[in-house]
Symmetry: C2
Subunit: 156 residues, 2 copies
């Protein structure tokens, strides 16, 4: 298990994503009640995302972040630390996105990634597709989100 | 193909999600350049999501919404029109989320859902799991996002 890319993120290409490599990034993002409520109001206004009082009596016994908010926080770290800043050509999607543990106000989340697959495009030989398992861990080392993300990346 | 639930969203339970039913909701959400940039800065600051000038020379020939922003807009409509307002017990995740067509400033997006699967929980007989294909269509009737969403719902 390596924990350093061979290349910095400003000089990282398809070629640098090696199957089996795992990275864990030290930065932690903290999520506040105000952010959870604001995101919920914009995109996912279920009571357990937007109303702390109602949430206390709800299925999660308190306010929890929308799963899409948690996914956004994952993406923030993924874009900052893992995904090349020079070779990203967009992502066609993700598979098996799972919200495993509720994310609550004050939680501190960090990112772990594992390269599952890397294959050159047949139709466009200037790029390849990388499949990454991304996991978001909280301050108790519980995996709160797991997903397999797909990214197109330019070759060097 | 039905286009009306038998029950209003404030009286809708697991029992009302019938496999094979398809619904298309007339509300359209419009996404602006400012919203795309704001979401991108918070969660996905790749140049083609946050910098219109750089995006013009980028892989999508213009600014496009983060796929997570598009997913959030899907969820806004899904929570407003499709997902029960009284019986939702959270979602464990989604499968096969695909961003099929870029979403650009000014696009108008609407939701179509199809119930793929509905099964009672064995361990918790007060609820069931519903698997839904959700599609977001733009003003040209192109499917821009497709996903299979999982939701726990209380039985009536």
């Amino acid at each position: 298990m390596s924990n350093e890319f061979s290349r910095p993120i400003d000089d990282r290409y398809f070629d640098d994503y090696v199957v089996g490599s795992t990275y864990e990034f030290p930065e932690r993002v903290q999520v506040t009640e105000a952010e959870i409520v604001a995101f919920g109001r914009s995109f996912d206004p279920q009571s357990f995302h937007v109303d702390p009082e109602a949430a206390a009596d709800g299925p999660f016994h308190g306010l929890i972040a929308s799963g899409w908010h948690t996914a956004g926080l994952m993406m923030r770290l993924y874009a900052k630390h893992y995904l090349s800043h020079v070779a990203s050509l967009g992502g066609p999607g993700v598979d098996e996105l799972r919200w495993l543990v509720p994310v609550r106000p004050g939680d501190q989340l960090r990112l772990r990634t594992t390269v599952l697959e890397a294959r050159l495009s047949r139709s466009k030989p200037d790029r390849g597709l990388v499949r990454t398992r991304a996991e978001l861990l909280n301050q108790d080392d519980a995996v709160v989100l797991r997903v397999e993300a797909l990214n197109f990346l330019a070759v060097r």
